[in-house]
């Protein structure tokens, strides 16, 4: 009898301990990933960009622009007027519903199912390789391989921004995030460029250490000059580089590296802020989410390809969460939100993360 009582007590203690341990793991969002590839209608598996427009999902791929609507894919190609088959970036004009697509051969606008295109030959666009596009008010802001530019939809005027009229040193502009107050450009090799919409003044943020991967002082400034992506949300600047990520609140920088955060890789293709505290990081080693304290990484295992979800708490404890699905590939290129769901562009397909917890 005593033996049975001991066994029960021991079991209860073990269960309590396990529950305590489990309770210590931060509750991070869990998703069931449904993946789209050419096998189920995606025009190409290499997805550079993804854009959510209500119930419609746009996927910029290496071979056309896919529109997923009501369970079916419609594909826009150069035959439909798309500037180029490779669609690198997407932006939605929320007021009009027009979608802007930055491609390897110009900037296309999809409006009411029809496409018109701006190139460096037929318009004031600075360069046909359009890495980034963002719409704010009556202006379309564009990041190209030869500088930044702005198209006024009111007047048709193109304004070009480059080393001649901004603090930009390099002109290889990778990403743009435009808001009513500020416009930020990620300039590859030239840090972050800031445009103040009110004053028309430019400012620049660079890595205080220069183009070096050595960080002399943590949180001294932008983590690296080679910026790849920028996202400005709730007056917070989120910046991605190939050597880590940064958050800037206007006064202080906070940098994220694999060694002191939950980032799975310092090689970050894209970043998207949810709000002032939360952001998503699209890396070459999976999709990472940061809730202001804790991290979660979603990816197929780099070795076994089995789905993984790793959670890292504030103390650096990492816990593997059992999952049965993962994004289509670990090489993540873009993300957008659909309510609580996420849509993820990867090198091997488009993934729909359906929120479960």
């Amino acid at each position: 009898m005593m033996k049975l009582a001991k066994t029960i007590l021991l079991s209860a203690a073990l269960l309590w301990g396990a529950a305590q341990a489990w309770a210590a793991v931060p509750q991070m969002p869990r998703y069931r990933f449904e993946n789209f590839t050419t096998a189920n209608g995606l025009p190409n598996n290499h997805v550079y960009s993804v854009l959510v427009d209500g119930d419609r999902i746009w996927a910029g791929t290496d071979d056309g622009l896919g529109l997923y609507e009501k369970g079916k894919w419609k594909v826009y190609t150069t035959k439909d007027g798309l500037a180029h088959r490779a669609v690198l970036s997407l932006a939605l004009d929320k007021r009009t519903g027009d979608v802007w697509a930055g491609t390897m051969g110009g900037l296309s606008r999809i409006s009411g199912g029809h496409i018109d295109t701006f190139t460096q030959l037929n318009s004031g666009l600075s360069n046909d390789v359009v890495y980034g596009v963002s719409v704010e008010g009556d202006n379309v802001w564009v990041a190209t391989a030869a500088g930044a530019c702005r198209l006024s939809l009111r007047t048709g005027q193109w304004s070009l921004y480059n080393e001649r009229n901004t603090p930009m040193i390099e002109i290889w502009v990778y990403s743009v995030s435009a808001t009513p107050s500020k416009v930020y450009y990620a300039v590859w090799g030239s840090g972050i460029l800031e445009y103040n919409q009110k004053t028309g003044a430019w400012d620049k943020y660079e890595d205080p250490d220069g183009e070096t991967e050595i960080v002399l002082f943590k949180d001294q400034g932008l983590i690296h000059e080679i910026t790849t992506s920028v996202s400005y949300v709730d007056n917070i600047l989120w910046a991605a580089t190939y050597f880590g990520a940064s958050r800037y609140d206007g006064r202080r920088w906070h940098n994220f590296l694999t060694k002191d955060s939950g980032l799975p890789s310092n090689f970050i293709n894209s970043i998207k802020g949810v709000d002032a505290d939360r952001a998503w990081f699209c890396t070459d080693k999976g999709l990472a989410y940061y809730d202001g304290t804790n991290w979660a990484v979603y990816t197929p295992s780099l070795t076994t390809r089995k789905p993984e979800m790793m959670v890292r708490d504030a103390e650096g404890h990492v816990t593997a969460i059992p999952v049965t699905t993962a994004p289509a590939h670990n090489y993540i290129l873009g993300i957008d939100f659909q309510g609580k769901d996420i849509w993820v562009a990867t090198a091997e397909g488009l993934s729909h993360g359906i929120r479960e917890q």
Partner: protein, 644 residues
């Protein structure tokens, strides 16, 4: 008889027959239609003609609102007796109007002021004036009263305004020359048309030999977003559009140019097809039906109205001075019993309209807007260049009454010239007029293969005709020294295929064309000063040395050839744009007046944008020294050119 003598004899006989037919035609047809010329006055000044363009009944039918383009006013008439009630001054050159959902407000677009006048229809006074986009034209208010939609012709978009404050919420991309708007009967959709073809989207060099494309833009009225662009192939001008009361049949007046073939077949109906684009549940896929028939063309279709019972469609034909009545039942029968061409267009069938056009009702000069009374018993047509309203009884398809609007009784020189400009009767079988290609006295955005240069030779872009004085010679090759030559024998011989201008008519026509002013330039700041980009562009335009410090030869400076107030030195130059189809590279230097509006560019319309003139078609700096410029400098130059 030698072959040559046989040919000469045949030519002589043919010439005699042609001359006889001209005499016969002149005697048989013209006398009744030239009566207005007898009233011609010798005054050259601009008189205050009302020039009614559009009309609309109040919801209760008690009032008729008449938009008078010439006097910048809305005239309010009794809806039954047509007695004048009041005139309300609006902005300059009003073009479109629309009643609010409740009828308590009348919106009027003012094309030269870029404003929208809001009239309180209870008090019959102006309640507000709101600023809108460039050259506002059509206007409708959504059924919920939340938004007002305004089609802006120059900015090619549709402004969405807060109906209470006039604050512009957003702009929707529309077709080029965005102009006319129609709300569907259930209020769910707005249909928008545009008068110039959309910009060519395709390989460089093909712009001028590709059929034009237009669209009907479909807007979700509640969300104010574009949900569809109904593509109209080979169409280059779409005007008013009407939807049947049951919402199942849409109908839009359209120009179908035949500019891909030489303009040498007017006698075979080879210049334009005047058509209706039909769409909606009744017809399935959009289908184009011709209004023309041999010897009875329907030049410049403009206004469209569908009777409340959907029994008839009425179409005003501004150049033919007639209203066509179409029997809808017969039209549907025609569509059901005739195999639809793969193109979706019956435009080539000049016998088709005989199946459904049941009446051709002669009205006044340049009939435009059409309004149908709510009981369907009266069809009113605004005769713009006669200051009258024709009241048609649709039961008899006859003009029951003609209402004269107050105004000058005489026909001035300018008025007669304008009538001549819009009147198609001078061309063979009344097919086309000056205004067919110069829509609303502007241009058509098309390139044409004109006959005198040889078939397939010298493809030319149609040019704007505003503020022409001091820009002669004319034609792209500078071959016509003055407007009488340009508009008279050349036009008669090669375009009209018919010689019918008397000296005074030609003189009046030329006087009218010379009187056309340049529209306000929308890229210039109100005070005339230049923006920093425009200022930089002006410096490039006027520079004499290139960026490497080398002097630019005079003929290679922008400001040398494009000199003077109009931007032309009136000389001919070879700017290196001679195409394989051109007979010569020597071209008249075109004026720069309102150049921002007039795409495509270059003499043959190969450049779809100002940028392409230099990014594609100036590889050797013959069209000005530009290849030393950076992209942003070229953008600056273009910003300056837009101010001209």
């Amino acid at each position: 008889m030698s072959g040559q003598r046989q040919w000469m004899l045949r030519a002589a006989v043919a010439g005699a027959l042609a001359a006889a037919s001209v005499v016969f035609f002149t005697m048989a047809v013209l006398p009744a239609r030239t009566a207005h010329a007898d009233r011609r006055d010798t005054r050259y000044d601009r008189l205050d003609y009302a020039s009614p363009l559009e009309m609309e009944f109040s919801p209760d039918g008690e009032r008729l609102y008449v938009l008078c383009e010439g006097t910048d006013e809305i005239r309010v008439l009794d809806g039954n007796t047509y007695a004048p009630i009041k005139s309300i001054a609006v902005g300059h050159l009003p073009r479109g109007m629309g009643l609010s959902a409740s009828g308590d407000r009348l919106y009027v677009t003012n094309t030269w002021d870029d404003t929208l006048t809001v009239i309180d229809t209870g008090a019959l006074r102006v309640a507000a004036t709101w600023h809108v986009g460039m050259e506002p034209s059509g206007v409708v208010e959504g059924r919920t009263g939340k938004y007002v939609f305004v089609a802006n012709r120059i900015s090619n978009d549709i402004a969405v305004l807060d109906a209470q404050t006039g604050h512009e919420v957003k702009r929707l991309l529309a077709g080029r020359g965005s102009s006319y708007l129609t709300l569907s009967p259930d209020g769910s959709r707005i249909y928008a048309t545009h008068v110039y073809p959309n910009t060519f989207e395709g390989p460089a060099g093909m712009a001028n030999r590709t059929p034009p494309e237009s669209e009907i833009t479909v807007i979700d009225a509640a969300r104010a977003v574009v949900v569809e662009r109904m593509q109209l192939h080979s169409i280059a001008g779409v005007f008013h559009l009407a939807i049947s009361a049951d919402g199942r049949l849409g109908s839009a007046a359209a120009y179908h140019p035949k500019n891909m073939v030489p303009l040498a077949h007017l006698e075979h109906g080879g210049a334009f097809a005047d058509t209706l684009m039909l769409f909606g549940a009744d017809v399935g896929k959009p289908v184009e039906i011709p209004l023309d028939e041999l010897e009875r063309y329907a030049s410049q279709p403009f206004g469209v109205a569908i009777a409340p019972d959907k029994a008839q469609i009425f179409v005003t034909c501004g150049g033919s001075e007639a209203v066509l009545a179409i029997d809808v039942r017969r039209l549907m029968h025609f569509l059901r019993t005739h195999a639809r061409p793969a193109s979706g267009s019956f435009e080539q069938d000049l016998a088709a309209s005989g199946n459904y056009v049941t009446a051709r009702i002669a009205v006044g000069h340049n009939p435009r807007g059409v309004a149908v009374s709510s009981d369907g018993r009266r069809v009113l047509v605004a005769n713009r260049l006669e200051d009258t309203i024709s009241v048609i009884d649709p039961r008899t398809d006859r003009v029951a009454a003609t209402i004269k609007l107050a105004g000058p009784k005489i026909v001035s020189v300018l008025r007669h010239g304008e009538q001549t400009f819009y009147d198609a009767r001078y061309s063979f079988q009344g097919q086309i007029a000056c205004a067919t290609c110069h829509i609303d006295s502007t241009f058509d955005g098309l390139t044409w293969d004109l006959e005198p240069d040889g078939f397939g030779r010298d493809i030319v872009d149609n040019r704007l005709i505003e503020d022409l004085k001091g820009t002669e010679p004319y034609k792209w090759n500078g071959g016509n020294p003055d407007l009488p030559t340009e508009c008279g024998p050349r036009t008669e011989l090669y375009f009209w295929r018919s010689q019918q201008y008397d000296d005074l008519t030609l003189a009046d026509l030329v006087t009218y064309i010379r009187s056309l002013p340049a529209r306000p330039n929308r890229w210039r700041l109100p005070g005339g000063e230049l923006t920093p980009a425009q200022e930089r562009g002006k410096e490039i335009f006027e520079r004499t040395v290139d960026k490497f410090g080398k002097p630019i030869a005079e003929a290679n400076r922008c400001s040398f050839c494009h000199s003077g107030p109009k931007g032309t030195d009136q000389q001919r130059f070879d700017v290196g744009t001679k195409a394989a189809t051109d007979n010569s590279g020597l071209l008249d230097t075109p004026q720069l007046t309102n150049i921002a509006l007039t795409a495509p560019y270059l003499h043959d319309g190969t450049a779809t944008s100002l940028e392409e003139i230099w990014t594609i078609y100036n590889p050797h700096d013959q069209h000005g020294r530009t290849n030393d410029l950076t992209k942003d400098e070229l953008n600056d130059l273009i910003e300056y050119l837009r101010t001209r």
